[in-house]
């Protein structure tokens, strides 16, 4: 239905938005080669030395490992809890459904700083010392929501008739789950998990308040930014992470975007 000019205008708009989205990322790539650890435009010179120093930096390795660990932990917990919640809510018909649904969205909708200080106050009140575990707990609260949203949306689109047909043909509850429901929702689960992991991996605000002596990668980056001594190392690490994630992201986009069930990725 779009006319020629509308199409051209839309293309131009998309190009400009892409430029807007990727200019800073291009700068991150370029300044990974900066000779100076102070960023100024234009770049004073190119060097590869930050790649070696980043590779040899034990802090980077430790924080990267911790971020992976936390991301996996939080995603795993969120997968179980979020899927349970989605199945339960999907079956619910009573009036409380809207309320419970709203409740599960809260950790995303309330500002991260509120979640962060609430958890911080609760941990210190309960005498729980901050550790890797408390970071995982903090991240899980908002990761659940992403998984929940993805799975619930897919369930809503799944035709009930399929399940009914299977039941009519004599399948029991377990068989329906294994042969019909799980295959139907599997891509939604995978996409939800990817987003949950991405959010956990880049979370700063809740982590600031729930981390103890450990540095996740974003906390290490914040530290490196403070004095600026290792600023190019930050760019090296970030460039590396982007390059590594391109393929999984495209796959996730195929799974979600292609299937037409794009879900909100939610808060960092």
């Amino acid at each position: 239905m779009e006319g020629l000019w509308t199409r051209i205008a839309l293309r131009l708009w998309v190009a400009l938005i892409l430029l807007f989205l990727f200019t800073p990322i291009a700068l991150i790539f370029v300044y990974a080669f900066n000779t100076s650890n102070i960023q100024s435009w234009p770049i004073p010179g190119f060097t590869l030395k930050w790649f070696t120093s980043t590779w040899n930096d034990p802090d980077v390795r430790r924080s990267l490992a911790l971020s992976l660990q936390v991301g996996l932990g939080a995603t795993a917990l969120a997968l179980v809890l979020g899927s349970c919640a989605a199945f339960a809510i999907h079956r619910m018909t009573w009036f409380g459904r809207e309320f419970v649904s709203l409740m599960f969205v809260l950790p995303l909708a309330l500002p991260g700083i509120v979640t962060g200080i609430a958890l911080n106050a609760a941990f210190s009140f309960g005498g729980i010392s901050l550790s890797t575990l408390t970071i995982v707990v903090g991240h899980t609260t908002f990761c659940i929501v992403v998984v929940y949203n993805n799975v619930l949306a897919r369930l809503r689109r799944t035709q009930g008739s399929l399940i009914e047909a299977a039941m009519d043909l004599g399948a029991n509850g377990f068989q329906v789950l294994r042969d019909i429901t799980l295959p139907l929702i599997s891509t939604a689960v995978v996409a939800g998990a990817m987003l949950a992991f991405a959010l956990s991996f880049d979370e700063v605000i809740v982590t600031t308040f729930t981390a103890g002596a450990q540095n996740t990668l974003p906390l290490w980056i914040f530290g490196a930014i403070r004095l600026g001594q290792r600023l190019p190392e930050v760019n090296v690490v970030v460039s590396f992470v982007i390059l590594v994630t391109i393929i999984p992201v495209v796959i996730a986009a195929r799974l979600t975007g292609g299937g037409g069930t794009a879900r909100v990725p939610a808060a960092r």
């Binding site: 100076s36 650890n37 102070i38 010392s129 002596a213 530290g223 403070r226 600026g228 600023l231």
Partner: protein, 389 residues
Amino acid sequence: MKFGAVAALAMLLVAACGSTNPNTGNTLAPPPTANLKPPDKIGAGEGQLNLIAWEGYVDDSWAKAFTQQTGCVVNAKYAGSSDEMTSLMKDGGGGQYDMVSASGDADLRLIYGGDVKPMNEKLIPDYTNFQTYFKTPPYNTINGIHYGISLQWGPNVLLYNTTKFKIAPTSWSAVYDSSNKGIVTAYDYAITIADAALYLSKSQPSLGIKDPYELTKKQFDATVALLTQQRQLIKKYWGLASDEISQFQNGDAYIGAAWPYQTIQLKAAGAPVADTIPSEGATGWGDTWMLATKAPHPNCAYLWTAYVSTPQVQAAQALFFGETPVNTKACAQMDASSPGSCAQYHADAPGSYFDTIKFWKTPVTTCADGSQSCIPYDQWVSAWTAIKG
């Protein structure tokens, strides 16, 4: 909850009597940990050491060798400000952290909060080589009890762009002068109030400011008024050292208070900058390694303190960060790796020099004369929020 009944009663009281805060920052009572006896000798290392430190204080260039020597693996959490350190150290380090490299403005809060405990200076061999002032500075030693071992110190200097200011400014008045509108920067923390108070103590003697950390209501209000005016000149306050470096490098600031670290970094990048200590003197920081009350690895903590007090490590850290070692023996080491640096950083300064530096300390209600009329730190913080708007 067990305090439910108490809470209900308290609510009634609040309703009946309005609200008066029952707590005043009374510093006259001895610190809660004063009676904890420090160890007489250092036992075997526990294999781990968790530190809260200023960025760069646990650099691999000396931390690695420590781990090799002692088997203590060092985990550092970098904090951005003294206030953040105080927060991280609450509840005696929470059984998690062993030590904190606190600056003077955090020390008394940690000591009177019971978050740190006395240390035995005899277990630190290099302690005898310390500058006299830093053996028992008022911010970490109370009634002869050491709540930590001094580490390094440095002044808050006036950093300026030499193309804009061809002649070195001689007074802090430059950062309050309206002709410098838009090119001034200042440190984004409440302790900056002390810088303004120091300036007022010289420029307006009638206010009678003797100590920039002990301000009466009238003195405090005058200082806040000066800073509120200064707010109009400032494009951006710097919260991170890299902020200020970036501002000077990219033409967003030409003058402002800084650490010597920023000067060193900017000069290394070829920026036209210099720093100076103006005629009014300067505020400064003195850092102390303090031992958490609930430190899980006290032996590694003592081993670390002894290690960072040695001349080699003292000199390495001083040159890395642009600050001054407290160990007088470090002077030769500094000159060996960077000729002239010992004198440049005043590492060989006579005792009288320390009178010109007003070291950061926590503002408390109790003034030096024992009266309770000074403005405590929490009011500094809220005033600072109001100044920035």
